[in-house]
Symmetry: C2
Subunit: 415 residues, 2 copies
Amino acid sequence: MQTEIITIGDEILIGQIVDTNSAFLGKELNKVGISIYQITSIQDEKSHILKALKEAEENADIIIITGGLGPTKDDITKHTLCEYFNDTLVEDKAVLKHVEFLFSNYIKTPISEINKQQALVPSRAKVLKNEFGTAPGMWIEKNGKVFVSLPGVPYEMKTLVSNAVIPKLLEQFKFPYIMHKTLLTYGLGESAIASRIEAFEDALPSFIKLAYLPSLGRVRLRLSAKGIDKVKVEAAMKIQVNLLLPQVKDIFVGFEEDNTIEVLIGARLTEMGKTLAIAESCTGGRIAQGFTANAGASKYFKGSIVSYATASKVDVLGVSEDVINKDSVVSKTVAEAMAKNVLTLFNTDYAISTTGNAGPAKGDSDAEVGTVWIAIATKTQVYSEIFNFSNQREKVIMKATNKAFEMLLKEISKK
Amino acid sequence: MQTEIITIGDEILIGQIVDTNSAFLGKELNKVGISIYQITSIQDEKSHILKALKEAEENADIIIITGGLGPTKDDITKHTLCEYFNDTLVEDKAVLKHVEFLFSNYIKTPISEINKQQALVPSRAKVLKNEFGTAPGMWIEKNGKVFVSLPGVPYEMKTLVSNAVIPKLLEQFKFPYIMHKTLLTYGLGESAIASRIEAFEDALPSFIKLAYLPSLGRVRLRLSAKGIDKVKVEAAMKIQVNLLLPQVKDIFVGFEEDNTIEVLIGARLTEMGKTLAIAESCTGGRIAQGFTANAGASKYFKGSIVSYATASKVDVLGVSEDVINKDSVVSKTVAEAMAKNVLTLFNTDYAISTTGNAGPAKGDSDAEVGTVWIAIATKTQVYSEIFNFSNQREKVIMKATNKAFEMLLKEISKK
């Protein structure tokens, strides 16, 4: 059983947007045993769409198509599906009612003829209701194969996949059991890890694969297993994880399930009933945003101060001006004062701070581009570390953010 | 002349990483006239790689392959290329020297046998030096077609593309001229815009395409033109832009070259010598992060307070507890007090604030999920607006962030 994703849209091919939909689909489908064979991104162009549909039908049993369902003329997926399946468009009354509802409740402009055309679907398609948008999902079967066409707007697509596509696929097909176990490691390069665990890797059973995913100061080791019998797959995975763990225990920080490190930290803080505040300089809101992107953040996250200008470290965070003048704004003392003061200000159990220079030019201190101090404060102590991450702005911000998460996770994991 | 991208790596197909490399390649190659016909993402699996190479060779003249060049056993691109081209691996002395240099300077662990194997390349490949990593780029020609294999690590790949791949392609081929002009609009939906500019769209010459890129409160209108004669293409584009602009002038905020609205706001504030502070609640750092992601933010951005917990609006931002109790934390008075107070606290010319409920559950107020107040303060006035964005968390956060940017751009553009 093969599954292929086709994403349609010139904006992907010219690099105007990054295709995050495919990653979501890959992850969610994997959870229920559906592995993606291929992702094909193509233009909003009829002959190309037809060719991709034909190739996908030859290679795959389930074809998931995203994009090209908007009301404007550049969106041609629906008409092209009609041509491919030799079908015609018919109005779906329920979709029309939903489009009218969305317009009267949220959009608040008069509904036009092209909006109403969102209710047209190929006659053989089963409609999947799109709660959050005007373009419905469409489910079309042909010779036992399934084609699902979904809007490209990420949150519309995501809801459709979780609420309609996956349940229907599970009803109709039987999938093998797939599991991944990813070990997050920090502090050693991939080839050094590979040398160390070579014997382990060579002895892996054929249905378990090991992959190395290096990025910005960390390496993720992913074990993937696939099989019919869930119990056996899980038992085999457990054995391998137990063999691997002792060999990497000095660099291992935790398992990454679905979860990002922010989610792991949030879950642990919530469980402990502890709270967090942040004082960010060079990371500019990136750390706070990492936490608040997830529902439930209000259970542990009280707030953050982005003290970007040096003056605001004094005025808002109450860092002593003398200390800044003496030690410079990128220093151990300033980082630690920021963490301590924000802990007090928000009255939390933990606080984290960053101060550094992300570049490209030197700022209010003499610190080299890439120099970042990160401090952690608790009610009883404060400590900090210095790093030199890179000379590339985006890399400095992201490495500092990742390192802050890593230090915080280590701190809250202390017994 | 067709160009195809093949990205290799299970991590893409299982959704463990988002493929940002393809977007970079699409954008950079477009700038020099190379349009991407298709992006194909496949597994680290020999028969699949061989099949994709064969299909790409049939469809395209230039094939760019990323990924699978690491030193570990899951990386098989190099061996598979050898099989495809019926070639063998030979050691490249310059690459070996570079690998040794990287180890002695940066990695500081002894070099191992698997690291040295990074210097093995197919005998017919021309090596492209990878400044920042051990895996070299490889350029292989066959019957006038070009295959380029690049590492998947983004910053290594990017440098290779800019410094080696694009110059070599331009030396060897003649490409048409491609240009895009993207108009950023705020405040009107795509179908309403489409109705308004229908006659314009229908009258576009065949070599200019219009695309609508809607996302969370804004629509980007992209005109793409392609032709042999750069001067003629540019002249034709200018005519169309001049026809389009007057029809959207009430919703047009600027051209997006490579720029986001945050960059446009930053440039205007810097030019005026004015400063900005932010008080964020439901947007949780997203607005601050939008500004600080860009170099030069310190010229106008003084800082932000993410007052996520209600108590922090009182303790840190100084909003009156009585007002919060009387009007609720999601209210006009609280939004305006947040903006005024953060303006004073950071001593800036402009301030923006958000308070709302992003969901999924109701928080410290009775406000419906999706309700957001956004306020703008200057030294002489404060005002606010209420919105109901959606009932989906990510959408609420992003729509509120975009609306805040829009309101701020309008405010600073007032004469």
